[in-house]
């Protein structure tokens, strides 16, 4: 089974701190995604990456950046955390093939910014 591992299940940070959320997948997937989830808003795409060092903005990239130096790892960076970034963050990966590939999600990181 594909495994998508997020480094922390719960994280508490202070306003203004630089925050790193790490995600690792073990299936050699080309595509990786970062979503945030807030009550009543579903999943909103922050950034995605379709190859090493390649990244594209999602719907809500403001206040975030990402890094993909190795194929298996996709990091989400909050340059200066703010209270409105308190949320559940979900990482996902997906392969690329002639038939459609499904998304595999990690368990999520619940981030609280105080």
């Amino acid at each position: 089974d594909v495994k998508v591992t997020q480094s922390s299940r719960y994280l508490v940070k202070r306003t203004g701190e630089k925050v790193f959320l790490e995600c690792v997948q073990d299936m050699d997937h080309e595509n990786m995604f970062w979503y945030r989830q807030d009550p009543g808003l579903g999943l909103r795409l922050i950034y995605f990456s379709y190859d090493v060092k390649m990244k594209e903005k999602g719907d809500i990239p403001e206040g975030y950046s990402v890094s993909r130096e190795k194929k298996e790892r996709f990091s989400l960076i909050l340059e200066s955390a703010s209270t409105n970034q308190t949320s559940m963050y979900l990482c996902a990966s997906r392969g690329t093939g002639r038939t459609n590939e499904k998304l595999f999600f990690g368990s999520g990181t619940q981030l609280s910014v105080l």
């Binding site: 998508v4 080309e30 595509n31 995604f33 979503y35 009543g40 808003l41 579903g42 999943l43 909103r44 795409l45 995605f48 379709y50 190859d51 594209e56 999602g58 719907d59 979900l90 996902a92 997906r94 690329t96 093939g97 002639r98 038939t99 459609n100 590939e101 499904k102 998304l103 595999f104 999600f105 990690g106 368990s107 999520g108 619940q110």
Partner: protein, 111 residues
């Protein structure tokens, strides 16, 4: 990018069949339709995927009409453990693929 629209919530009772419909009027030729299930404090997990007509697996069926502008997830004989949020996702298998989820449907199954 195909946008999806689903009912916000649904209620059902144990043993009933539940049908959740998703609208995706601007679906592209290369797009597949995929449904995910999410329990509280967990990431979504894949349920079923289809391109056209009908697909069935051990947990659900997916009905897609000929124009592909909508799809219906059918859950036979639901139980309390099927209480979850269900998401419809439309997208292709290309490498450059921005996968956007809708708000999902919150299904509550009652005893």
């Amino acid at each position: 990018l195909a946008k999806t629209t689903q009912p916000i919530s649904m209620d059902s009772y144990e043993g009933q069949e539940v049908n959740i419909t998703c609208s995706h009027n601007n679906i592209a030729t290369n797009d597949y339709i995929t449904w995910y299930q999410q329990f509280p404090s967990q990431g979504p997990r894949f349920i079923i995927q289809g391109y056209k007509t009908k697909v069935t697996n051990e947990v659900a069926s997916l009905f897609i009409p000929a124009d592909r502008k909508s799809s219906t997830l059918s859950l036979p004989r639901v139980s309390l453990s099927d209480t979850a949020v269900y998401y419809c996702l439309v997208g292709s298998s290309g490498g450059y693929n921005k996968l956007i989820f809708g708000a999902g449907t919150r299904l509550a199954v009652h005893p």
